[in-house]
Subunit: 201 residues, 2 copies
Amino acid sequence: MKRTEYPVAIRELIAQLRQMPGVGPRSAERIALWIVQARNEQPAGIARAIASTRDTIRPCLQCGFFATADLCEICADDSRARELLCVVEQPTDILPLEKTSAFRGRYHSLGGRISPLDRVAPEDLRIASLVERVEKEAPSEIIFALAADVEGEATTNYLVALLKKYPVTLTRIAHGLPAGGGLESADELTLSRALAGRTRL
Amino acid sequence: MKRTEYPVAIRELIAQLRQMPGVGPRSAERIALWIVQARNEQPAGIARAIASTRDTIRPCLQCGFFATADLCEICADDSRARELLCVVEQPTDILPLEKTSAFRGRYHSLGGRISPLDRVAPEDLRIASLVERVEKEAPSEIIFALAADVEGEATTNYLVALLKKYPVTLTRIAHGLPAGGGLESADELTLSRALAGRTRL
């Protein structure tokens, strides 16, 4: 007996939706059936938004953040301090930092981190343009805000070695206990970093 | 200080994606950033699949299941028994029944159930075409497989009253303990239905 299935177009749609991050087989099926059955123009609007965003959004030529012109909103903002430059891995790392309201400088997104396993070499990252900005903008401090893992550390170390010849203070954001986290829930590495990074009271 | 946000196009995309079922603000943001940053043609493929599925898929003129022609795969299959007709609420209820491999008849999807609260009256459902099929196809048995809740029951009762004048056996799928469910986890209504529906051993 032949098993009845959804028509090919629906199965194809489910397969396409499954490519989206965090969307498993069941939610892809649920979304696909919603798309097929919706009586309004919502699905068409979603299709248009996906296509048009791909056309509209491009990386800021200077820092790599999401932009609709050559420069992003942050780089185009003249009230931003040029003395402070914060280096992050991904453009998506910038908004969490912005939400803290604790930083009023500029950013530079590398577009990733050095990772031999994933075949990401320094040349694959926006490092040349970082050096160029350091020479041109002459910031007084560069804050490295990369991930607190092996590859984030290695990338930070690589950049520190590359930039230490410039007259700029190089710093890294603190590693330690997360807010609200007790000692009992912290792993050994976090605790040893929290100890090493202790500050005078 | 003005808060930096994503460019309007990204925020618009997030708002669009949030309309999909099961997609909350965080997963919408995650999917949107994936769409913006993907270096391949996957997002364009998804947009095309959404748009084209909407154009390709339509309800089967006979049973209401998903079809790409006038008749769906099931209605077009002549090896299917015409004597057995299974009435369901939604076209999406058909595949779960198919997966059991326990039914080789035909289906009729009502497109919903009678619900005064949601302003769904009998005229809003595919009831006229059900009556027409009963007259034309003269099935020997109609199995009602609607939800085991108040509105599902009420709709079943309405249809039974409407169809009892025809020479056809009217049945309903059993209500009782779900497979693997113990007595301690069953609610009172399920248990009383399981008792009422007891079968001789």
